[in-house]
Symmetry: C2
Subunit: 323 residues, 2 copies
């Protein structure tokens, strides 16, 4: 496939949504034939993307916590503040718990009709490193297209939550009120990575339990190591249904950015870029190797021999690498 890179670069910088979507598709492509084009595209848009003073927010929480509904309300609020908002929804490929973004379109219906918003699901079926790389690149494209705020939605299971902290400035963790049992559902690991905690669905009869859960959670997070020295994670309640608390969550995000300061945010992004470079390198090196005809040809046979017990896994791997 030949791609007219100049047209893509121009269209993205003009903020044309259809061109942006095509550019993302190119960058997401796992085909080595598209690699040169996507590299060229990222390179040409790199300075436009990095000069942009964007807000990168990760929205995470277990399935059922209402991330899409929250993003619908939160995104609308940000747009009312004069921002252009891009939403990237990651569908992780956790082997154990999984997750689906089916039905999310209806939950984000209001936002998806707003001309100041751009919603893009990231395809699943990739290993976590691949998802992180593609999301990182998609963020760059959205920033080059002029978006002020990027919301990255991840299902907080498996390794995806680690990845989201690697690609955003501020991590918002949604959770629900309920009996003590609920708190057990939140992984300590993900709490350690959250900057802004939100007890979601705090409406109707659920308002009091939500406030109770918030104060319970406050005790827990005080014990956790801080992600940033300058920031003590906050806890608020909110309802995407009534809109209560939505502006406050956005204020928290802004407070988080002020507390860190531009210098720390920039430094943090540099560290993230460096990790992204390492991850991407691994990803690409493996893919290049597995696509070699002599490797692809022999892989199945060696897998079968490992499975039958005929070959030791390490020995089989070394054999594929050296012969």
């Amino acid at each position: 496939m030949t791609t007219d890179i100049d047209a893509l670069v121009h269209g993205v910088q003009e903020g044309d949504r259809r061109t942006l979507a095509r550019a993302i598709t190119l960058v997401e492509s796992g085909l080595s034939a598209d690699l040169d084009a996507s590299l060229e595209l990222l390179n040409q848009l790199h300075s436009a993307a990095t000069s942009k003073d964007s807000i990168r927010i990760g929205i995470t929480g277990v399935p059922g916590v209402g991330k899409s509904t929250f993003i619908n309300a939160f995104g609308e609020h940000m747009i009312q503040q004069g921002l252009q908002v891009a939403v990237l929804a990651i569908d992780p490929t956790s082997t154990r718990s999984g997750g689906s973004i089916l039905g999310d379109k209806t939950r984000m219906e209001q936002l998806s009709r707003n001309p100041q918003a751009f919603i893009r699901p990231t395809p699943g079926g990739l290993h976590p490193g691949g998802v992180a790389r593609r999301t990182r690149d998609t963020i760059a494209l959205c920033e080059a297209a002029g978006f002020d705020a990027i919301l990255v939605e991840t299902i907080g299971v498996g390794q995806s939550e680690v990845s989201v902290a690697d690609i955003v400035d501020t991590v918002v963790l949604l959770t629900l009120a309920g009996a003590g049992d609920d708190l057990q559902g939140i992984k300590r690991g993900i709490m350690e990575l959250a900057d802004v905690l939100v007890i979601h669905k705090s409406d109707g009869d659920n308002q009091l339990p939500s406030r109770v859960a918030a104060s319970e959670l406050a005790n827990v997070i005080n014990l956790l190591p801080r992600r940033f020295e300058a920031w003590q994670p906050t806890i608020d309640t909110c309802s995407s249904l009534s809109g209560q608390g939505i502006p406050e969550v956005f204020s928290r995000v802004q407070e988080h950015r002020s507390a860190l300061g531009n210098k720390t945010i920039r430094e943090h992004r540099r560290e993230q870029s460096l990790r992204g470079f390492d991850d991407t390198l691994r990803d690409l090196v493996i893919n290049e190797f597995l696509q070699r005809p002599e490797v692809a040809q022999r892989l199945g046979d060696l897998q079968a021999k490992v499975r039958s017990g005929e070959l030791h896994p390490t020995a089989a791997a070394v054999r594929l690498l050296t012969k």
Copy 2:
């Protein structure tokens, strides 16, 4: 370095501890010069290792839960049942929480003096995949050396707990009694991977709280998806200090093996081998790439350019790969 593989193979099969230790060091070596020798060694010992009807147990739990003390008592009990026990302690390289096995030698002093036991720490400083591969290979060597039971100790943080479920038959998770807060410290992810749960340090004034914690935990694990269809995870209390409950934990492990049956255990190990092959392949391919002189030479420069923002991470990675 030239290595006398025949002498190593012979010594390991004789069960000579010093030779076993040398063989493990060879397999752990990251040096490409040792790769051929370690491959040859693993290949020659492969049939001896796979024919062995060993018990592979993972012992996991957060730092401070008393894993080493437990292994000291648990290992002694297994030896009293006529088994030879190898202990492999993994020191993970979690970027956030970390962990240390300093002081473990004293906590396993009794076991380390027992001639039926073999204790081996796995060096840290490796990424999770590397740890899993080396531990997998070390298990093979210990089994070839005639050990009946392999205890793999991991600190249940970061990604190490996922790895341990990938290399053992039965996962024993240690936790402590306490207020509701404690349960939050256990990640749901790790609970989903545990077969035998143990409330540890159930002695003195802690016995009643331990029993309470056990029944609380029973409610939680009933809600979790099962790792094996044939097995509902169990919960017991035990004290490595008094010895109370130690035989029961071993009984649970045996019950787990019986419930699964030899066929399922073998099938499970085959799946693990296949995953091990994949992981090892990735590991080796990356290492081979990074050790190429032209790559090693340019890596630092590209990292600096990514860090300064001059180059997009993906673009830098592609550049290193293609030019």
